[in-house]
Symmetry: D2
Subunit: 129 residues, 4 copies
Amino acid sequence: MNVRELLGKDRFARLLGIELLEVSEGKAISKMEIRDEHLNGVDIAQGGAIFTLADFTLAAAANSHGTVAVVINANINFIKAASKGMLYAKASETSRTSRIATYVVDITNTDGVLIAEYHGTAYRRGETF
Amino acid sequence: MNVRELLGKDRFARLLGIELLEVSEGKAISKMEIRDEHLNGVDIAQGGAIFTLADFTLAAAANSHGTVAVVINANINFIKAASKGMLYAKASETSRTSRIATYVVDITNTDGVLIAEYHGTAYRRGETF
Amino acid sequence: MNVRELLGKDRFARLLGIELLEVSEGKAISKMEIRDEHLNGVDIAQGGAIFTLADFTLAAAANSHGTVAVVINANINFIKAASKGMLYAKASETSRTSRIATYVVDITNTDGVLIAEYHGTAYRRGETF
Amino acid sequence: MNVRELLGKDRFARLLGIELLEVSEGKAISKMEIRDEHLNGVDIAQGGAIFTLADFTLAAAANSHGTVAVVINANINFIKAASKGMLYAKASETSRTSRIATYVVDITNTDGVLIAEYHGTAYRRGETF
């Protein structure tokens, strides 16, 4: 199985309509169109929907090396509310040892405005998938 | 509108099957049954699904005072994988000033085992909802 | 070497006047008196001084099991400014596997008021010290 | 008082030997030479010393607009141990509204190797200093 197949099996990402656009060593880009079902009580995209887009994109980048990596810590800043249109997530690896790797994920709207910043730490379990 | 009505309008929480059990001043409890559609490529609950349960529960606690509060920062530790059964989130306010409040949310399974720990910072916008 | 000896060799903690009060399996308590040299430009204890007290206390708790553990991620909420008097840090382990452990550290003043909340993730390297 | 004078009054930064190199709108660069008194029990720079360098640099960037900003949340990944030589911190503002601003601070050694990544959220109190 390759990383695209692994991510293709993510049913939660599928439920949300997240699409993986690009994945290469330590990098990935995804998109998600904000739907009515992503909105919270004040009619903006729920933090969890934005988090999921970021987390999924990090997972693509973190698993791009061919071995299983799982997120153990994530920190997200919600910067600007978004209520419609497309969101893009771009993940980049900022460090990697045999066991631990770190990633930054920027979430932007179609105008390139920063919606959220996500920073994650992954534990690399070592086995292949 | 009261806080239960506000949270009841959260379509993303509804999509995931999240149910608000209790809410009082600075506190809230919710639950979510892990469904097949919450799973990721390695058949465990996607981080975003767990995050959403926590974030929703924090939102209930943070908006319990009758004025709008939005999460600006969230930090989550994913401690143990979960693939089925019920998850519970319990949010407690740890500090509150006129503008900023902080919360801790524990996510546990039916056996009371800690699945994730979420810590959030909310900005209190001041207006009523 | 035991954990008290390990922490006793921490020259930075000594520079700041941090004192380890208690350490047991997964738990530790420390204190630090705020001195003029801990203050920042607006005459309150610098965030780094408070962070150090928390980080040192976590290190005691994380190394209490007899093998080396290092902090890989820390998240801190600064809740209330402090400009004088004693600060106390109390660390508790919230989870532990063979490689990863998580801790919460509450920093309070002499009146028991919460000054900061610190949450840390440690990587357990396995070797003894 | 300008931002350089404000930061010049930071006694804790002075104790650690931190020097502000550059500050402009939303940006700042600082340095700190690792001394024996910055080391912990396993002879590497204590996390609190590295945190302080980052936090101080963020404070310079956050207060560069002429009004008081205080860090309310900070998240730091410790990536690589450092035991001697110079450390550099470079802070950049990633978002700013009237009340909330976010910053990323990279800490590198003289070879440009990433030692730590710090992400902070500041609350802008509005008053001038």
